[in-house]
């Protein structure tokens, strides 16, 4: 990475011009965000690479999601005694959000390991790796929207409207949260390599205990408080899913919960990043 020296007009000797070649957490996060050109490109290239030499290209992810939704949807609507026409749209709206969140979490544990070559070569904004990871997962989300549109057009076209665009602010908030999750998991799992296994199993279990296959109303009492109210993944899911289900506004509780999660998550991540950013190359 090229580092431009600060022009110092008042410099008396050339030594005054020289500045430390270090980078702080704030500089990293904000400077990295400004390089959208670069992380945007890295995200795109990764998507392109993944589907090179395939016929269906990026739409493979749509196909597998489609198969999943239809098969699980048929079984689930039977188990929960719901109409397939009612259950499939609910399932698909949740799944497209879940897949994004899940893949971000799983890929995050390797975000810095994957950037080893770069980190050992130059001093750059490590956050670029994080932004590019979140970005590419949202590109996949955009592809998966096709499955969502298709299912809704077939089963409940009346629930498609401009009000569904209320999901956009939710998506932005989700991306902001994916960024801290990714940075945090990337950092911690770099130092403690066992985190990878832990994240995998948590993600797997969460899929079933979060109201994804079943509506949150399906639980009552303590279980509801525990698996719905206190489940951060549920709140992150809901702020995007509810608007997708015919432009519903997400419950105010979830909005408050997500605000708290965003602030606390970033505060914790920032504190750790500020303290340990300089250790990252040593942990590789």
């Amino acid at each position: 990475m090229q580092q431009e020296a600060n022009p110092a007009p008042s410099a008396r000797t050339h030594h005054d011009e020289a500045r430390p070649n270090t980078m702080g957490a704030r500089e990293d996060l904000i400077g990295g965000l400004r390089k959208y050109d670069l992380w945007g490109r890295l995200g795109w290239l990764e998507i392109k690479r993944r589907y090179r030499r395939t016929i269906m290209g990026p739409f493979w992810t749509c196909v597998s999601l489609m198969i999943f939704v239809i098969v699980i949807g048929s079984v689930g609507s039977g188990l929960l005694s719901k109409q397939t026409a009612e259950y499939l749209p609910f399932l698909v709206a949740g799944m497209i959000v879940w897949v994004t969140l899940q893949n971000t979490l799983i890929e995050s544990v390797n975000v810095f390991v994957a950037g080893t070559g770069l980190i050992r070569q130059m001093n750059f904004e490590y956050s670029i790796l994080v932004y590019s990871l979140v970005w590419r997962n949202f590109i996949v989300f955009a592809h998966n929207l096709l499955v969502y549109l298709l299912i809704f057009l077939i089963f409940s076209p009346e629930k498609l409207g401009f009000a569904n665009l209320l999901a956009v602010p939710g998506l932005i908030v989700l991306a902001v949260n994916c960024a801290w999750l990714s940075l945090l998991l990337g950092m911690v799992s770099l130092r403690f390599r066992d985190l990878q296994q832990l994240v995998m199993s948590i993600v797997q279990v969460s899929m079933f205990v979060t109201p994804l296959f079943w509506p949150p109303e399906g639980l009552e009492g303590l279980r509801r408080i525990f698996f719905v109210g206190l489940n951060p993944l549920y709140h992150l899911l809901t702020i995007v899913r509810d608007p997708l289900l015919g432009g519903k506004l997400p419950p105010i509780n979830s909005c408050i919960a997500v605000t708290v999660i965003t602030i606390l998550g970033w505060a914790l991540t920032y504190a750790l990043f500020a303290k340990f950013r300089k250790r990252i190359p040593y942990w590789l």
Partner: protein, 263 residues
Amino acid sequence: MTSLILDNVCVDFPIYGSQRSLRRVLFERATGAFVQREKDRVTVKALRNISFTLNEGDRLALVGHNGAGKSTLLRTIAGVYQPVEGRILVGGTITPLFDVLPGIDPEDTAYENIRTAGMLFGLSREKIEQIMPDIEEFSELGEYMGLPVRTYSTGMTMRLGFAFATAMDPGILLLDEGVGAGDARFADRAAKRMEDFIGRSRIVVFASHSNALVEKMCNKAALMQGGRMLAIGEVQDILERYEVLIRGGGGVGASIDGAAAPA
């Protein structure tokens, strides 16, 4: 003015995992650096109290055994590793060339890889397009430029990396040896281009095992051993001391006359 100042720089590597007693022995043997055990944490003292100042026009060669700390020093100057002690002041633009194409991906074409690498080095899009014809011409890859890099031979990949790296305008150039150049015919052209490239840079720090290259390219040299800079000065003097070190010590952990014995 371009300048590079190192002030009492120390770098420690904490070692995680692996068996403690074994790695302690191994590191002492292999690197000549000092492995310390502090409260259950093992650290390798990779760089000890390095200080020097380089000004515009200085071309410094780092000489020493494998594991003497040359590459670590280059990476520390590049800002990859932050020193635990001391500081580094940089006046100018640092261009680190350790792997020639950073972020290279074999699935991408040469064009794509160069654009990515260029952006990583902080070049603007215009600048990248501006140097592209030069890279195309010098690397002689022709039609291959549009094919994935995985289809290239090793020599072709090296030519591409070399052509890209040397097309930039370096301020402070950090060069690790082995930024190589492919076959003999190409090596000839590469040598000329390399000279020109080094000539364009304001300050060069160059780690090398080749005395011929050092004598040709550099006006200063520094001898490194066990993470310390034993001496810095005229190229001839330093190369002679290096000879003495090789013949006299034979091993990595040897100390030489006049130099502070590693404590």
